[in-house]
C-alpha cells in the first residue's frame, strides 16, 4: 500500500487530499500543517510520497524540499497555487528535487478540486513509484552547454520528445545539450497542466540555446525553434512545408487519460513530417508515447527511450521498449548525444 504524508497549512486542503487519497486506497500516514512538522514527519515516517504546499508557516515548501532532499531523498509532489508567483515557485521546487506538482484550482473557473481527483491520485501514485535513488542525480544541476558535434545533421531535421513525471529536469538538460547549430525543429510534449506549460517553455527558452515557446494554434516551427505543447490541448503536426512545421491544437478527448498526449503529436509527426525524424520518450508513468514511437519507426524515423537506471519512473520508456520499436535505450546524460547521432549522416 502506498504511504503518503500531506503537508499543507490549509485544513481544508489537508482534509480533501486525505479523503481523495484514502478513497483511492492510499494510506495517509500523517497530515501536518507547517514546514518543520513536514520535515519531521517525512523523515520519521519514511513515506513513499509526500505532498508539499509551497506556502506554509515557519518553513516554506521550498525549504522543506531542500532539507528532505539533503537528509533522505523522498519523492515529493508540490501543491501549487496558480495565481501570483505559483508557477515560478513550482519550477523552483522542481529544481530543488520535487518530482511533480499538482495545481490547485484557482477558483476563477468555478471548478472545485473534486473534479481533479483522478489526476491527483494518478500523480501521487506516479510519484510514489519514483525510485528515490534517481532523485539526487540532477537536482540543482546547472544545464551543461552543447557538447555534441552537429556538423553532419541534415537541415530540416525534426525531433519529437515526450515525457511525464520527472520530465522537466531531463528535458531542460537535453535541450541545453542539443547543439543550436543543428537547427533542429523540436516538438516537446510534457504532461503538464495549462498555465504552467507557458512558464515551462519560457524557462527552456532562457536556459537553452533554442528559441522555445508554448505552441499556439496555427503556429509554425522553423529551424532552431522548439515548442512545448500547451496544457489541456493535444498538439498535432498538420504540415511540413518551406522548412517549417505547421502545428494545430486539438481539443479531442484525453488519450491515456492525459492531454496533451505524446502519441497524438508523434503519430501526426510520423504522417506529416517529410525530413529526418527522431522520436524520444523520457521518464514517466503510464503508456503514452509507446504507440507514437512505433508510428515514427514505421514511417522510417529513429526512436530513443530513456533507460531504467536514470528514469525517475520507468513506465513510459519501459512500455516503449516492450514494443520492440525502440532503436536506442540511453541514460539521461547521453540522450542529447543519441538524438544527434540518430540524425548524423541521415540516409532516410
Amino acid at each position: 500500500m502506498v504511504r503518503a504524508v500531506i503537508a499543507d497549512d490549509s485544513g481544508v486542503m489537508r482534509e480533501i487530499l486525505s479523503e481523495i487519497l484514502t478513497a483511492a486506497g492510499i494510506d495517509v500516514v500523517e497530515a501536518v500543517e507547517d514546514g518543520t512538522s513536514a520535515v519531521r514527519a517525512i523523515l520519521e515516517r519514511d513515506p513513499d510520497v509526500a505532498t508539499i504546499d509551497i506556502s506554509m508557516p515557519d518553513k516554506n515548501g521550498l525549504e522543506v524540499i531542500e532539507e528532505v532532499m539533503a537528509e533522505r531523498p523522498t519523492p515529493m509532489l508540490v501543491i501549487s497555487a496558480r495565481a501570483n508567483d505559483g508557477a515560478s515557485e513550482t519550477f523552483e521546487a522542481l529544481d530543488r528535487g520535487a518530482v511533480d506538482f499538482i495545481a490547485k484550482p484557482s477558483g476563477q473557473l468555478s471548478v472545485d478540486i473534486w473534479s481533479q481527483r483522478d489526476e491527483i491520485v494518478e500523480k501521487v501514485r506516479a510519484a510514489a513509484a519514483v525510485d528515490p535513488t534517481t532523485l539526487t542525480q540532477d537536482a540543482g544541476a546547472e544545464p551543461v552547454q552543447s557538447t555534441v558535434p552537429a556538423d553532419r545533421v541534415p537541415d530540416g531535421s525534426t525531433v519529437v520528445i515526450g515525457s511525464s513525471t520527472g520530465g522537466p529536469q531531463v528535458l531542460e538538460r537535453v535541450l541545453a545539450e542539443l547543439p543550436r547549430e543543428a537547427k533542429l525543429r523540436i516538438l516537446i510534449v510534457q504532461h503538464m497542466t495549462d498555465h504552467y506549460t507557458g512558464r515551462f517553455a519560457m524557462r527552456l527558452n532562457e536556459r537553452t540555446a533554442y528559441e522555445c515557446r508554448e505552441a499556439s494554434d496555427g503556429d509554425t516551427v522553423g529551424a532552431g525553434d522548439a515548442v512545448v505543447a500547451k496544457g489541456g490541448r493535444h498538439l498535432e503536426v498538420t504540415a511540413d512545408r518551406d522548412g517549417e512545421l505547421a502545428v494545430a491544437h486539438d481539443d479531442g478527448p484525453k488519450i491515456h487519460n492525459v492531454k496533451p498526449a505524446i502519441d497524438v503529436t508523434m503519430r501526426s509527426a510520423a504522417e506529416a513530417v517529410s525530413g529526418p525524424l527522431v522520436g524520444a520518450v523520457f521518464t514517466g508513468m503510464g503508456a503514452d508515447g509507446a504507440a507514437g514511437l512505433s508510428a515514427i519507426k514505421a514511417a522510417g524515423g529513429k526512436t530513443i527511450a530513456q533507460d531504467e537506471e536514470t528514469s525517475r519512473v520507468f513506465g513510459m520508456p519501459g512500455r516503449a521498449v516492450e514494443t520492440g520499436d525502440v532503436d536506442m535505450v540511453l541514460p539521461e546524460e547521453r540522450l542529447a548525444e543519441g538524438i544527434v547521432n540518430a540524425l548524423d549522416g541521415w540516409s532516410g
Binding site: 497549512d9 490549509s10 485544513g11 481544508v12 486542503m13 482534509e15 480533501i16 479523503e19 506556502s55 508557516p57 497555487a81 495565481a83 501570483n84 508557477a87 490547485k104 484550482p105 484557482s106 477558483g107 476563477q108 473557473l109 468555478s110 471548478v111 472545485d112 478540486i113 473534486w114 473534479s115 498555465h195 507557458g198 512558464r199 517553455a201 519560457m202 527558452n205 532562457e206 515557446r213 508554448e214 499556439s216 494554434d217 496555427g218 503556429d219
Partner: protein
Amino acid sequence: MSDAITTFVHESEEDIQKLNNALLDLENDPDGNEAIETVFRVAHNLKGNFGIMGFATASELSHAVEDLLDQIRDGRLEVTSERMDLVFEAVDQIELMVDEIAENGEPTTDPAETIESIRASIDGESAQAATEQPAANSATAVDDAADDDDGRSRYRATVDVGETDAKRVDAMFVLDATGDADAFELVRTVPDRDAIEDGEFDGTFDVELAVDADDDGDEIASFYEESRYVESVAVDSVADATETETADEMPAQTDDSGVETAPDASGDDGDDDTDESKSEDASIASRRNKEVESIRVDVEQVDRLYNQVEEMVTSRIKLRKIIKGSGLVSAEEELEEHGKITSSLQDTVLEIRLVPLEKIVGNFPRVVRDLARDQGKEIDFEMEGVDNEMDRSILNELSDPLMHIIRNAVDHGIEPPAVREEKGKPREGTIRLTGERERDRVSITVEDDGAGLDVERIKEKAVEKGIMTQEEIDVLDESEVYDLIFHPGFSTRDEVTEVSGRGVGMDVVNEVVRGVDGTINVESEPDEGTSVTLTLPVSVAIVRVLFVTIGDETYGIPIKNIDEISELEDLTIETIEGQEIITHDDRVYPLIALDDTLDVGDAERDDDDMVIRIKTDVRQVCIRCSDVVGQEEVVIKPFEGILSGAPGISGASVLGEGEVVMILDVETL
C-alpha cells in the same frame, strides 16, 4: 464532501477572525512586518480554500484583497483609514459569503462591486490617467507610487503585443525580459500580472518602470522596440502625475463628485453619517450572536472517554452478576467502583466541552475599532488571558453580556479625545479584557480608563425611576449604588443610542451571569475608570441539592443556600400582620409555605412538616415543606425562552431515571 465543507467553514471563520485582528494590528502599526505577513498569509489561505472548493466569486474577492495587501506589503500603497475601511468591508463580505456557504452550500452575495472598488484602489490611477479620467482625480495610489523612490523617475510603457492567441505567452516573455533588465525596475503592470498571464487583456498592457532620474524614456522605448514580441510601444513619463499631487494631498473626499471608480467606502465618510453608521451597526450585529457550534476534540481525550465507557460497561456486567449471586457486600463495593468510574467519565466529558474564551471574544477588537471610529474616539483595546477555557454552554451565554459590557465601556466609559485631554489624560483611552482562572472559576474583567460611574447620577436616576426612595438611597455605600445599574429598567442614558441599542441592559447581563451560576462585580473611580468583573464556573453548574416534597411534588433546593433543617413541631411559629414568622438568634424569619407559593393544591399541612432555614446572606427566610427526601449532585439546566426568569425557579434537573425536578431559586421565591 460535507466534511470538507464543515472544515472549510470553520477554517474560514477562524481565518476571518485572524484577518480582522491582524488588520487591526496593521492599522495601528502600518510598518509592522509581522502583522502584514500574517494578514497576507491568512488572506492567501482564504483565497486558496475558496479556490479548491470552487467558490469562484468569493475566491475572486479574496484574491482582490490579497492583491491590495500585496501592494501594501511591498510599500507601493500606504495604509490609510479609507483603504483599511475598504479591506474591512471586503472581509465583512467574505464573512457573509462564508455564512451563506454554511447555510446553503453556496454563496449568494455578488461581490462584484467590492472587487471593483478594491481594484480601483489598487490600480485606478494609471487606468484613469491613461483614459478619460480628469487628472485631478487620480487616486492617491499614483502619488504613493511616484514618490517612494528617491531620485528615480517613473515611466509608463504601453506595450502592444498584438491581439493573437499567443499574446499571453508573448506578454510573459516581455515581462520576464523587463524583470531581467538592469537599467530599470518593473514597478507594476496594468492589468496586473495575473490577469496578463491568464490572457485577460486585449493585446495591450501598461508597464510602469522606475529608472534613474537622468535617464529618459528613449531607452525604455528602444528596449521594447527591440523585442520581437512587441508590435508597438508608447512611453510616457508618470512624473506628469506629480503635478496633481498637491491637489491630491487635500483629502480625496472633498471632491467625490465625478469619480466613477472612487471606492464607496473611502469617499463619503464625511457627508453620509446616518447610512454609514446604520450599515456599520448592522455589520456589528451580524457578527454577534454567533454560538460556538462545534469544538475540536483532542483524540487522546476521546480515547480516554471510550476506555472509561468500556470500564463502566464491564463494571455493570460484574454488578449484575454479583447481585444475581446476592452477595450484597461485594455488590456495594462494586457499586462504589462504579461511582468512581462514572464521575471520572463525567469529568472527561466536561473537559471535552471546554473551549477557550477566545472563541467568543475574538471579534471584539474589530467591534471596538468600528464603534470607536463611529464615535470619533481613540481606543486601544487589549485582551489578555483569553486562552483560559470554559464550558461551551457557559461561553455561549456570555457572548452577548460581554459584548454589552464592552459597548458600555466604549459608549459611556471612554471620553472623546478632546475631553480626555482637558482632564489631562492621554487622548487614547484603553479598554482591557482579562481572563483569569482560579481553581474552578474563571473571572473575566473588562476595565477602562474612562470617566467612571457617576454615583450621584445613578442615585438620582434610581429615585426618579422609583427603584428606591431618597431615604433608602442615602444609606447605601458606593458599591451598593453600583449594584443599582443591574436593576431592571435602569439606564443612565437619556436616550438609547444607535450603537448601544438593542434594549439589552445591565439587568439582562446580570440575569444571564447569575443564570450560569456566576457573579458580577463593578468597581469604579471617577475619572479613573470602571471595571466590571464576571466570575463564572469553569464547568457546567454541578450543584448538590436537597430534595423536598410538597404534596406529591418534589423540588430541589441547592444545599449551599441552606442553613438548617428542623421539624415544624420543634419550632415556635408566631403570626405578625398575617405573616407567619420564626425567630432564630434574635432574627425574624418570614415563613414561606411551599404549597401556597407554588400553588400545590392537594398538600395537607401536618405537624411533621419540615422547615428549612435559608442562609441569611442569601435571603432571610424559612421554607415549609412536607418532607425532606435526600440529596444528590445534579446538573442544573437553566430555563430558556418563556420559562426563563420565572420567579422562584432557577432551572430543572434530570435525575437518573429521567425524572425532571425543578430547582428552587430561594432568592426570588
